[in-house]
Symmetry: C2
Amino acid sequence: MTTSNPPYANPWTNKVIKCQDCGLKKLCFPKNLAAAEIQALEAIITRSQSYSKGDCLYHAGDLLTDLIIIKSGSAKTERVAETGAAQIVSFHLAGDLLGLDSLSKRKAVSSVTFLENSCVCVIPYPAFNALSEAAPQLQEEIISRLCEEIANSHNLMLAMNNYTADQRVAVFLQELSCRQHSRGLSKELLHLSMSRNEIASYLGLAPATVSRALSKFERDGFLQVANKHLQITDYQALVNLALACPECALAAAT
Amino acid sequence: MTTSNPPYANPWTNKVIKCQDCGLKKLCFPKNLAAAEIQALEAIITRSQSYSKGDCLYHAGDLLTDLIIIKSGSAKTERVAETGAAQIVSFHLAGDLLGLDSLSKRKAVSSVTFLENSCVCVIPYPAFNALSEAAPQLQEEIISRLCEEIANSHNLMLAMNNYTADQRVAVFLQELSCRQHSRGLSKELLHLSMSRNEIASYLGLAPATVSRALSKFERDGFLQVANKHLQITDYQALVNLALACPECALAAAT
DNA sequence: CGGGCTATTGAGCGCAGTCAAGTGTTGTGG
DNA sequence: CCACAACACTTGACTGCGCTCAATAGCCCG
């Protein structure tokens, strides 16, 4: 799975990037940590392992040995029932922690797959646990992330149960827009790394319904669709449709 | 909200019940803790505050100052969107921790309401935090509970998106049956503390659809319905319909 | 015993799913 | 670099599940 490039180094530049110099430091795991703690983290992080589009980080049932953070790229978390029914439960962007739902068991309850070529930072659990004994803020940060994940799930459930197909797609776009924005990217230009199929699974819709919604938004004049490149031309119209979705507030706070 | 009875005492017997003597000790928060830690917990727990059916523990936005555990009774967690759309995201039974989704912010993102007359144990956050510095197992336990909550949400999402109305109701009954069973109660006799309306909200269905599903189960001969008292007469038939729902495995492990 | 609420059941309709055909896009090998 | 194959997406027609609305029946409280 892992393509072979030197550990501890960015595969593009072959240079080691420290947390202090990382573009994600305002957003990523260490955002609330003191300088000394970040320095301690530096010592145990393996940087910039890279994966290709479609690579699987782990499957349900795998043993987990590390805390993984997306440095660049994106991923999906998918849950599969014994019946074979599958459900994408979250999309992950740069700065997100992966495998939070499996943290306590150390055994994956879902699978994570990369949606594009991606790099990750790896923190081995033993070293992390040793570190968090000295720095309780690390545990706090983990707990905070877990709470966010719960709140996100609940919001998604609310949307799935109470909103129409069009509204759900609007919520999805708004959420993505907010998350891109908080990463310093444009609010209006969305680059989807996931397929229509994956969006449909996430929102509990049929793929055809997602297509129809996007086409409708284009007809209604507030979105331009060019395959995976979307442009929101009237943000307020989108928000009106999504009706002040709570995801956005959360994503903005992240 | 709180009815006035002496703190630290069971309102029925007026006797203080220690964690060691509590019927829930196999299931409740301290289940994985060492004797010394439980003893330390004892010192900071306020026991047996009681609430009446319909009482609200807290509303979204309220400041949270304590960790709350249901000692007896049941409750629901409800999330309300700015649009007014409401969604019940979980039902809580004895031994459950309340307000996990609001833990990190110390400010409720959802509201908790009791479904019947209930008693709770209260652990003030400051005392709890002080204690967990000395006993990291406490933090571990919290993290474990949070992970379970995430997994539960994801399972529910999966059910809502992939299962028919009948299957969802079957999943709900099976889940409840498992949770009752792990609390030492019957697997077959279910006593619903929630209304059809609340079940419908939880499952993302209309109340009428829940009624219809229950009537159908009765016609099909594996369930007897007498208002809030249900009896599962063919458990396997129910499981076949719910198709090995993952909730059950989780509830059994709790 | 009556009032109010909750649950059940029926009739009809609409949203979104399914199926299928057609179009566009991407990646691969000649 | 082009041709082709495989795949992803769009769009249309039709169907059906579950929602809505409404009327009736049952339960629980004072």
